[in-house]
C-alpha cells in the first residue's frame, strides 16, 4: 500500500507539472488576456505533431538520438506556434479582443467563442486531412523506462517514468522563465497593463494590439511545448486536444484567473487529484474526482485557489 501511495503521489506531481505548463498557456490567453479560446486543445495537438515531424520527418532522431531529439522537437514547437498564434490573433482574434472590444458589454466574449470554436473545428479536420487518422507518437525508449528509487524497507520502490520526469523538468524551467518574464521585464508589465485596462494602457503609450498578439503567441507556444513534451509518452491523433481542453480550463479557474503561477498550481492540482484519487476511488472516476474538487474549491473560494496572490500577477 505504501508503494501504491508513493507512486500515485509521484505520478500525480509529474503529470501535474505537465498539466501546469498546458494551463499556463491558456492562463496567458484566457486568465490574463481574457480571450476565451476553444482552440487551445488544438494548439496542444499541433505541438505534438510539430514535435513528431521534427523528430521523425527531419531526422532529428538520427542526429540527436532518441533521448534528446524528442525534447528538442518539443522545444521547436514553441517558436513555430508562437508565430502561428500571433498570426491567428492578427488576422482573426484582433476583431474580437483588445481595444476593438473594450467598449462592448461582453468585451468580445461572444465573438471569441464563435471564432475560436471555428478555428478548433478547422484545425481538427484540417489535421485529419494533413496528418491522417493514424495514431502517431514520438518514439523514445524513455517512455518505457523508469528511475527506480529504493527499496525503502521490504520491496517498496518508487518508479519514476523517465520520459515524464524529463518532460516535467523542462515544464518547470519554462514555467519559472515565463513567470520571470511576466514579473521582471518591461514586456511582462506591458502585457499585464494591456490586459488590465486596454484604454489606459494606450494612454500610457503601450501598443495594446501588439501586446495582445505577443500574449496570444506566447500562450500558443507554451501549450505547444507542453504538447510536444506529452508526445514523448502518449500516442495522438488530430482529435487529442478534446481530451485536454477541459483540464486546461479547470486548472486555470482553479488556480485563479490572471496569474501565471496560479495557472501552473491549478494544473498541478488537477494532475495530482486525477492520479491520487485512484487510491481510494475506482480509476473510472478519476476525472469525476477532478470536478468534485473543482466544485469544492470554486464553491469555497470563487476567486480560485491562489486568487489572492494571483490578482494581477
Amino acid at each position: 500500500m505504501v508503494e501504491n501511495i508513493l507512486n500515485a503521489v509521484a505520478a500525480g506531481l509529474i503529470i501535474g507539472c505537465l498539466y501546469g505548463l498546458m494551463c499556463i498557456g491558456l492562463g496567458l490567453i484566457f486568465g490574463i488576456m481574457k480571450i476565451v479560446n476553444f482552440a487551445q486543445g488544438e494548439l496542444l495537438m499541433l505541438g505534438m505533431y510539430i514535435s513528431f515531424y521534427v523528430v521523425a520527418g527531419f531526422a532529428a532522431i538520427g542526429v540527436l538520438g532518441p533521448y534528446v531529439a524528442p525534447f528538442v522537437g518539443a522545444l521547436v514547437a514553441g517558436p513555430v506556434l508562437f508565430g502561428g498564434g500571433a498570426l491567428l490573433h492578427r488576422f482573426l482574434l484582433t476583431h474580437v479582443s483588445g481595444l476593438s472590444t473594450a467598449a462592448r458589454l461582453d468585451q468580445g466574449g461572444f465573438g471569441q467563442l464563435i471564432v475560436t470554436l471555428g478555428v478548433s473545428l478547422i484545425l481538427q479536420n484540417g489535421g485529419l486531412i494533413v496528418f491522417g487518422s493514424t495514431p502517431e507518437s514520438v518514439r523514445t525508449p524513455l517512455s518505457a523506462k523508469a528511475f527506480i528509487i529504493g527499496p525503502f524497507g521490504g520491496d517498496t520502490m518508487l518508479f519514476l517514468n523517465q520520459a515524464r520526469i524529463f518532460a516535467c523538468v523542462v515544464a518547470i524551467v519554462i514555467a519559472v522563465a515565463l513567470w520571470l518574464v511576466m514579473e521582471r521585464t518591461r514586456l511582462g508589465k506591458s502585457l499585464r497593463a494591456a490586459a488590465d485596462n486596454p484604454v489606459a494602457a494606450t494612454y500610457m503609450g503601450i501598443d495594446v494590439e501588439r501586446a495582445y498578439r505577443i500574449a496570444f503567441g506566447l500562450g500558443a507556444a507554451i501549450t505547444a511545448v507542453a504538447g510536444g513534451l506529452m508526445a514523448t509518452y502518449l500516442s495522438f491523433t488530430p482529435f487529442v486536444g478534446l481530451d485536454y481542453v477541459i483540464i486546461m480550463y479547470s486548472g486555470v479557474v482553479l488556480g485563479g484567473m490572471g496569474s501565471i503561477l496560479g495557472a501552473f498550481w491549478g494544473g498541478l492540482l488537477v494532475g495530482f487529484v486525477q492520479q491520487v484519487s485512484a487510491l481510494v476511488l475506482s480509476p473510472q472516476l478519476q476525472n469525476a474526482a477532478i470536478f468534485v474538487v473543482f466544485l469544492l474549491i470554486v464553491g469555497l473560494r470563487p476567486e480560485g485557489l491562489f486568487g489572492r496572490s494571483a490578482e494581477r500577477a
Binding site: 503529470i15 509518452y233 491523433t237 480509476p283 473510472q284
Partner: protein
C-alpha cells in the same frame, strides 16, 4: 450583340448542369449497393480505414470475377459512411446513410460496440440487414431481427479465452494459475467481456482477481492501474482496453515496472492491439509476447488472400478488421446471388436462413455461417494471436495456428 445572363437563367443553367452531371455520380441502373458505416475520423478512425481497405478489395474481387451472378452480372458498390467519434454521431450517420442511399441491399459496421448499439437502432427500424464484428452481447440481446453478429460475442470470448490461458500456463510452467489481474475500460465491449468473467468464469477456473481496475478512456497515465499489479503478483493480466493510445500507455507502464509480457503474461483483447500502427507507436520490444484474443484473424487457409492484400495495400499484414470487412462484403454478395435480388428484405431472409461451410464461410474461424434466433453466428470461435518478433501470429485454434504460443516461464 451581347446577351445578358440573368440570375434566373444562371440558376436554370446550374440546375441543368447538376442534372446532367448526376448520372455520372449516381449508381448505374443495375448496380447494387452495400453500406459500410465505420469510424473514419476521430480516435477510432484507423480501425475504420483498415476495414475500408478490406472491403474495397472484396468489392474489386467480386466485380473482377464478373459481378453478382444472381443479378445478371450487376456490379457491387460500396457506400462508405463515417460514424464520427461518438455514439450520437454514429446514429446520425446511420440516418444520413439511409436517406442518401435508399436502395441499400445491406450494410455492416460500426467496429466499436458502443457505436454499433446506437446505429443499429436506426438500421433495424429500416429493416436493413446489418452485419457486425462488434463484440458486445447487448447488440444481439435486444430482439432485433436484422442484426447479425459474425464475431463470437464478448461473453463467448471470455468463456473461451480463460480456460485456454489456464491450459497454456499449466503446460509451460507446470503450475495452475490461481491469481489474475484485470485492467479494462468501461466501454460496452469491455463491460460485456468482463461480466461473465466476474459472474462465473473466475469461479469455474478457481481464479482470484487480485487486481480489478476499470478506467474511463482515454488514459493520461497508467500508474494507478499498473502499480497495484506489482504488489499483487498475479499469474497473468487481462487487458480490456479499446484503443491504441491506451494500449501503448499500458504496455509501456508494464515494461517500466519491470513486468513486460516476456516476464508476466499480458493478454489483450480486440483488433486494436494488432493494427500496424501499434508497432509504430509502441515498438516491437514492448509488444513482444503479448497475447491477444480476437474474433477473427487470417489463418493458413487464406494465405493467398493475405499475400494479395499486402501486395495491394503495402500494409504489413491482413488483419482482424480487414478480413472481417472482406468477409462481410463477400457474405452480402453470396446472399444477393442466392436471393437473386438486392431487395433488403430478401437479402435479410437469405442471411437469416443461411447454413454454409464454404464460400464466404472460409473467412471466419470455424468456417460455418449460420445464425441463431438472436442473430449470433453459430460456431463462432475465438482466435488468439501473439506478438512475436514485431508481427502478430496466430497461435490458436490449432488448425489456424502458424506459430506456437510462448508463455513466460519466469511468471510467478
Amino acid at each position: 450583340m451581347t446577351e445578358k445572363i440573368t440570375r434566373r437563367t444562371a440558376v436554370g443553367l446550374m440546375g441543368a448542369a447538376a442534372a446532367l452531371a448526376r448520372p455520372s455520380l449516381a449508381l448505374a441502373a443495375d448496380d447494387v449497393e452495400v453500406a459500410m458505416l465505420v469510424p473514419l475520423s476521430g480516435p477510432w478512425a484507423e480501425q475504420g480505414i483498415l476495414e475500408k481497405a478490406g472491403a474495397e478489395m472484396a468489392i474489386d474481387d467480386i466485380n473482377q470475377a464478373g459481378g453478382l451472378q444472381g443479378m445478371g452480372g450487376a456490379r457491387l458498390k460500396l457506400a462508405s459512411v463515417d460514424t464520427g467519434a461518438t455514439a450520437e454521431t454514429a446514429k446520425d450517420a446511420a440516418q444520413r446513410m439511409l436517406s442518401q442511399h435508399p436502395n441499400l441491399a445491406g450494410g455492416f459496421g460500426c467496429w466499436l460496440s458502443t457505436f454499433t448499439l446506437a446505429a443499429t437502432e436506426v438500421t433495424e427500424r429500416a429493416g436493413l440487414p446489418w452485419l457486425t464484428l462488434s463484440y458486445s452481447d447487448a447488440i444481439t440481446d435486444r430482439g432485433f431481427k436484422n442484426v447479425f453478429q459474425t464475431a463470437p460475442t464478448a461473453n463467448t470470448q471470455a468463456e473461451e479465452i480463460v480456460p485456454y490461458l489456464m491450459k497454456l500456463a499449466q503446460g509451460a510452467t507446470g503450475k495452475t494459475p490461481t491469481k489474475v489481474a484485470i485492467i479494462g475500460d468501461n466501454t460496452a465491449a469491455s463491460v460485456s467481456f468482463l461480466k461473465p468473467i466476474q459472474d462465473h468464469v473466475l469461479k469455474q477456473q478457481k481464479l482470484e482477481a487480485v487486481v480489478n481496475q476499470i478506467y474511463t478512456p482515454p488514459l493520461a497515465d497508467a500508474t494507478a492501474l499498473v502499480q497495484p499489479v506489482r504488489g499483487a503478483k498475479p499469474d497473468f493480466v487481462m487487458l480490456l482496453s479499446t484503443n491504441n493510445g491506451d494500449d501503448k500507455i499500458i504496455a509501456d507502464s508494464f515494461t517500466q515496472y519491470g513486468m513486460p509480457a516476456t516476464k508476466l503474461p499480458l493478454i489483450g483483447n480486440g483488433g486494436h492491439w494488432v493494427v500496424p500502427e501499434m508497432l509504430k507507436t509502441a515498438g516491437k520490444d514492448i509488444l513482444q509476447d503479448i497475447l491477444i484474443g480476437l474474433a477473427n484473424w487470417p489463418g493458413k487457409a487464406v494465405d493467398e488472400l493475405s499475400a494479395r492484400y499486402v501486395k495491394r495495400t503495402g500494409n504489413p499484414w491482413f488483419g482482424h478488421n480487414e478480413i472481417f470487412a472482406y468477409a462481410h462484403v463477400q457474405m452480402f454478395a453470396w446472399a444477393i446471388n442466392k436471393a437473386g435480388s438486392a431487395d433488403k428484405q430478401k437479402v435479410g431472409d437469405t442471411i437469416r436462413t443461411m447454413d454454409i461451410t464454404d464460400g464466404p464461410a472460409v473467412y471466419f474461424p470455424g468456417s460455418h455461417l449460420k445464425f441463431d434466433d438472436k442473430g449470433r453466428r453459430v460456431d463462432a470461435q475465438l482466435v488468439i494471436v501473439q506478438w512475436q518478433d514485431g508481427k502478430p501470429v496466430t497461435v490458436f485454434p490449432e488448425h489456424m495456428a502458424v506459430a506456437k504460443p510462448v508463455w513466460p516461464t519466469s511468471a510467478s
